[in-house]
Structures are given as structure tokens and as C-alpha cells.
């Protein structure tokens, strides 16, 4: 471009402000306290003093008897009733016998682990999405984003933390969270009572070995490539201006990352989230999960850019960049709704029992959550971000962004909890506490990662273009 006034490209060093440290510390501590209160408030009486008190959970809530029951009532009495009144629910031959419920051995501990699963998965996917964001900027030869490149880079350093939290939670509570794991644990043969044709058919893919090996291998590959990209970025900073060898290497690495990531990201969604409802499947589920976290990652990026800007950093970034990030938020909000509907509409129309029950339990037992999901992730952001002036306003972006982050966290929670625990779950103090703890951790982790290197990729070949970025009047 090169028109207009000259902008000096200067390196900036970020120091985490004391207030941000305090803020994230307070967030984490309050989160822990709330989670503690939440744990204390869980009804632990269900946890077995004896055999009969175990919580029985139905995977499908399409029975009108079940509809009226809360979670707490699923005690021994309900379990008895369940066996006697369940004849209307004869397994359909076409779909093979379905396992109707499985016994959660440690109901209240499972609640904690499932919360950690949601938090770990959410923040892992966000950091992966930010890595992917950098790679598509390279692959598309995008110039405007060069000045804000360090922010997604810093966010992507959270990958190992999120992944470890996720792995710990599923390692400990796998058999309670996942029907298929519980079933695998039983090791039933054809003809035995409780034999499940569908789960057995899926066991070639959905088994404990694959469950751990596949994601670990994938995340390792992504981490190696991501690390390489971040290193190239630092080497470029330390190199000379006009040297594009590192940039070209970054493009190649990005292309490799983007292709591998594009083909394999669905595996995480399949293994960790979709297998919660192991009898159910949706071919668009991977895309849906990706887009949920993609839009959240962009939102967090926009908020961080606005925050750093308000502290006086990122002198090259102007309202134009914030406007573009706002456009991204708006566009992918619509895309999220598009994918959401693509999944919902086909299942609603086809009305195949095998597919239906995922939405049946969510629509009938969790109507408030179902609508909240749509309102927070589509209706509100769509209406509030429609105007150009809204996308250029930090405060509007802050408010809408917060709604979107919470909404998408709730979206992931909503994918997991009804599937694991059946009807009657609510977003309570435990959920809020866990989210606050990890949000605080993510914030301080990202800000600390930002201090590790200069805030401006000074030798990036597109930094001039980015500094002069202008979306027009």
C-alpha cells in the first residue's frame, strides 16, 4: 500500500500489568471457591452406601415417565420402576438393542470430572483454533493480520495444559462418563444379556486404546508443527529485515498443519464429545465442534487485542484490525448457526430413532438450555454485531464477546452433560467455578506467553501492509 503517512515499525515488550495478574488470580481463587461450594452442595447421598443407591441414568429420555423425574429421583426406587415400566421401550430390531442406561459408579465425582472434561476440551480446542488461525493467515498470504499475530501465538501455548486436563479427567472417569467405555469394561459377548450390537460394532474404533493413542498422537503432531511455527516467528524477529526465508518456511509449515488439522480435528470431537452419546452419530459433529471453538478463539483474540490496545500496546493496530476481527466474529456466528441448523434440521426431518434421541433429551428435558444456546450464540451476537459501528466499538465487542464465550462454553457443556447424566442437570456453582478457574488460568497463561517475545513481528514481510491496513470509509 504505502500511501498516507509513514508508520514506524517498532518492537514492543509486553509486561503483564499487576491488575491483570490480580484479576486472573481472583478469578482462579473465586473459581476454586465456587467449585468447592458446588462440590459440597452436590447430593452425595446417591453415592453408594449400598448397592441399591447407585444412580441409574438413562441415555434416552423419550419416555414420558422419565420426563417428570429429576436427577435426584433416579435412585433405587426409580431404578426398580425403570425395569418394570419399561416395556413400551422395546429395543427396535432395525437398530439393534440399545443400551438404555449405564450405572455411574461414582456419580458426584463424575460430575467434577465431566466438568474438567468440558473445560479442558474447550480451552484445548480454542488454543488449537488459534494455531489454525495463524496457519490460514500464512496459507492465504494475508497481510492485515501480521500485527496481531503474536496474540493467537500466545493463545496456542495453552494446548498442552488443556490437553492434560482433558486426559486426566477422561483417564480417571472414562468408565463413568462414556457408555461405550463402561460397556467395553463389561466385555460382553454376542448372545449374553446386555449385549449391544451397536457398541460392539463401533468397538473397532471406539475402544480405550484408540481413545488415548489417537488424540495423543494427533495433538503431539499439531504441537510440534505449532511449536515450529512459533520458533520460525522468533527467528524471523531476530533475523534481518527483508529476509523472507523464515516466512516461506512458515507458509510451508502452515500448509502442512492446515491440511493435517483439517482432516484430523474431527477425531477429537468424535472421541471426547460425540462418544458421550455412543449410540448416536452425526457426520457434521466435527465441523460443529470446530466452529464453536473457532468463533470463540476469534472472539478471545478480539478481546485481547482490544485489551492490549487499551493498555497502550500494539501501536500498529488500529480500529481497522478490530473491525476485521469483529467481522470475523459476526461471520462465524452466522456460520455457527448454519452448522447448528445443518445438524439439527436433518435429524429433525429424518426422524430416525437412532439419531433423534440426542435432540430429544436436549429439547424435552433441557428446553431452557437449548434456547439459551441459540440465543447466546446466534440471536444476540447477530443482532448486536450487525452494525458497522458496533464492530468498531471495543465496549460493544467486549460485551458481545463475553456473551459469546460463555455461550460457547455452555454449548460444550450442553453436548456433554445431558448425554452423561441424563435429565435434570443444571449449570450450577461447580460449572461456573470450573469455568472461572480455567478462564483465569488461560488469561494469565496467554499474557505470560506474550511477554516471552516481542509483541510486534518486526521483520514480518507484511508488517507494513498490516500497519497501513484500512477497510475503507
Amino acid at each position: 500500500m504505502g500511501h498516507g503517512h509513514h508508520i514506524e515499525i517498532k518492537q514492543e515488550t509486553f509486561v503483564v500489568p499487576a491488575r491483570a495478574k490480580q484479576f486472573s488470580m481472583i478469578f482462579m481463587v473465586v473459581g476454586l471457591i465456587l467449585a468447592g461450594i458446588g462440590i459440597a452442595k452436590i447430593d452425595k447421598s446417591a453415592a453408594g452406601h449400598d448397592e441399591h443407591a447407585k444412580v441409574e441414568v438413562k441415555a434416552e429420555g423419550h419416555d414420558s415417565h422419565e420426563a417428570a423425574k429429576g436427577h435426584e429421583e433416579h435412585t433405587a426406587a426409580a431404578a426398580e420402576e425403570h425395569h418394570t415400566e419399561e416395556h413400551g421401550n422395546v429395543p427396535n430390531e432395525n437398530f439393534g438393542p440399545r443400551m438404555e442406561y449405564h450405572t455411574i459408579e461414582h456419580p458426584w465425582q463424575t460430575k467434577i470430572w465431566a466438568n474438567l472434561l468440558v473445560a479442558g476440551y474447550f480451552f484445548l480446542m480454542i488454543s488449537l483454533a488459534s494455531m489454525f488461525w495463524i496457519t490460514i493467515q500464512y496459507a492465504a498470504n494475508a497481510g492485515w493480520s501480521a500485527a496481531i499475530k503474536r496474540i493467537p501465538e500466545a493463545m496456542s501455548t495453552f494446548i498442552p495444559v488443556g490437553f492434560i486436563v482433558l486426559l486426566i479427567s477422561v483417564f480417571i472417569a472414562k468408565n463413568d462418563i462414556y457408555h461405550w467405555a463402561h460397556y467395553e469394561h463389561l466385555g460382553l459377548k454376542p448372545g449374553q444379556e446386555g449385549y449391544d450390537k451397536i457398541l460392539d460394532g463401533k468397538s473397532g474404533f471406539l475402544n480405550s486404546t484408540m481413545f488415548f493413542v489417537f488424540p495423543i498422537v494427533l495433538v503431539t503432531i499439531w504441537m510440534i508443527l505449532g511449536r515450529r511455527l512459533r520458533n520460525l516467528s522468533v527467528q524471523e524477529d531476530n533475523g534481518t529485515k527483508g529476509d523472507i526465508t523464515f516466512h516461506n518456511k512458515s507458509i510451508r509449515t502452515s500448509a502442512i498443519f492446515a491440511v493435517i488439522f483439517g482432516f484430523t480435528i474431527s477425531f477429537l470431537a468424535w472421541f471426547f464429545i460425540m462418544s458421550v452419546d455412543a449410540h448416536w452419530y452425526s457426520t457434521i459433529f466435527g465441523v460443529y465442534n470446530f466452529i464453536t471453538h473457532w468463533v470463540t478463539a476469534i472472539t478471545i483474540m478480539a478481546l485481547l487485542v482490544a485489551y492490549l490496545k487499551s493498555l497502550g500496546y500494539l501501536k500498529l493496530v488500529s480500529n481497522e484490525h478490530i473491525h476485521d476481527l469483529g467481522k470475523f466474529m459476526f461471520a462465524f456466528t452466522i456460520f455457527w448457526a448454519y452448522i447448528w441448523l445443518s445438524q439439527y434440521l436433518l435429524i429433525w426431518y429424518a426422524q430416525i430413532p437412532e439419531e433423534m434421541y440426542y435432540y430429544q433429551i436436549r429439547f424435552e428435558q433441557y428446553k431452557a438450555n437449548f434456547l439459551t444456546n441459540l440465543v447466546m450464540n446466534f440471536c444476540l451476537p447477530f443482532a448486536l454485531l450487525l452494525m458497522r459501528s458496533a464492530k468498531r466499538n471495543r465496549y460493544v465487542l467486549g460485551i458481545v464477546g463475553t456473551i459469546m464465550i460463555l455461550g460457547h462454553y455452555h454449548d460444550v457443556w450442553f453436548m456433554v452433560f445431558p448425554g452423561v447424566f441424563g435429565p435434570g442437570m443444571q449449570v450450577g456453582l461447580l460449572e461456573i467455578g470450573v469455568f472461572m478457574f480455567f478462564a483465569g488460568l488461560f488469561l494469565i497463561w496467554t499474557l505470560t506467553a506474550l511477554t516471552k517475545r516481542g509483541l510486534v513481528p518486526v521483520n514480518h514481510p507484511f508488517i507494513e501492509e498490516s500497519a497501513h491496513h484500512d477497510v475503507g470509509v
Binding site: H3, G4, Y344, L345, W348, Y349, Q351, R388, D470, V473
Partner: protein, 188 residues
Amino acid sequence: MGILDKKLSLRNRSKMLVGIWEDEDKLVEATSALVHDGVHIHDIYTPYPVHGLERIIGARRSRLARVAFFCGLTGFILMTTMIWYMYVLDWPVNVGNKPVRFTPSWIPVMFEGTVLCTAYGMGFFFFWRNRLLLGVKNDLLDDRQTDDRMVIAIECVEGMNESDVLNTMKSNGAVELRELINGVQTTI
């Protein structure tokens, strides 16, 4: 022609000065210089968007976004009415025992209708406003302004020093200078 924005029309102007550029950087410099001298620029015609130009000449924000919104709204209302008429009022069809009133199956129709009307509406109004619509007679100051040349048009007003303006244009890289009197261009 008459229904279009009359202010933009180049007809019936008593006298205009026209400068032709081949280089966008020089065009931007010339524009800055002219604006700096206080010359009121009628319009600038470029074959592609030149960054920063609209800010220099103080162009207002394009109303295309608002046009897009209202086209979208029109499409949304049109399609909702259409599917309601077809599917509820005129000929309800039982498809898989689904309800016929507002259902998720309406959404694709409404969505596609909205997108269709937005896209076509924007295209139509954009070309109409820029006089590029088929059948609209366009005012091209230079045939190559849609290809590789850029044109600045300045309307001569009372008290304007024409030779100064011509000199500014010349010294800022204009490859050709013309004057337009009653629709006839002559090279200076």
C-alpha cells in the same frame, strides 16, 4: 438517467477540468495536493479501489451496506410469506407427519431467499448507482477508466484559478489534461 443521482451526472455541466493518471501513487499525491489547495473535486474514477483515496476526498460512507440490509429484509419477508402461503394457506402437505406451521424446514428457504435478495439487490443497486447497469447510459470520461487509467474530474466554479489547478495536476503526474465543455472533451 434522470432517476439516478443527478449530482453525479456529467451532463449539463458548463465546464469541467479532467486529468488522466496512469499511476495510482501519483493519483493519490495529486488528489492530496488538490485537496490541500482547496479545490473541490467532483469525483475520481478508478478501475479498482485505491486505498486511502476516499478518506482524502472526504467521501461519505457507502450506503451499500444499508441497501444490503433492506434487500435482505425484503427477501426474508418475501420468502416467509411465500412459504407460508404455499405450505400453510394454499396446499398443506403432510411430509412425514411433520407440522406444517413454522418449522425448522422453513429456515433454509428463508435463509436462501434472504441471501439471494441481498446478493442480487446489492449487485443491482451497485451497478445502477455506478451507471454500469445494462441499458443505463454511462458517462465515461475516458474509455480506459474501466481498464488501467484513473480520472479526476473537477468542476469549474466561480473564483477558481483554472491554470493553477491544471498546473497542480500536471506537476503531480497527470499524463493528459482535458477540458469538458457541454459534453465535448478537448485535450489541453
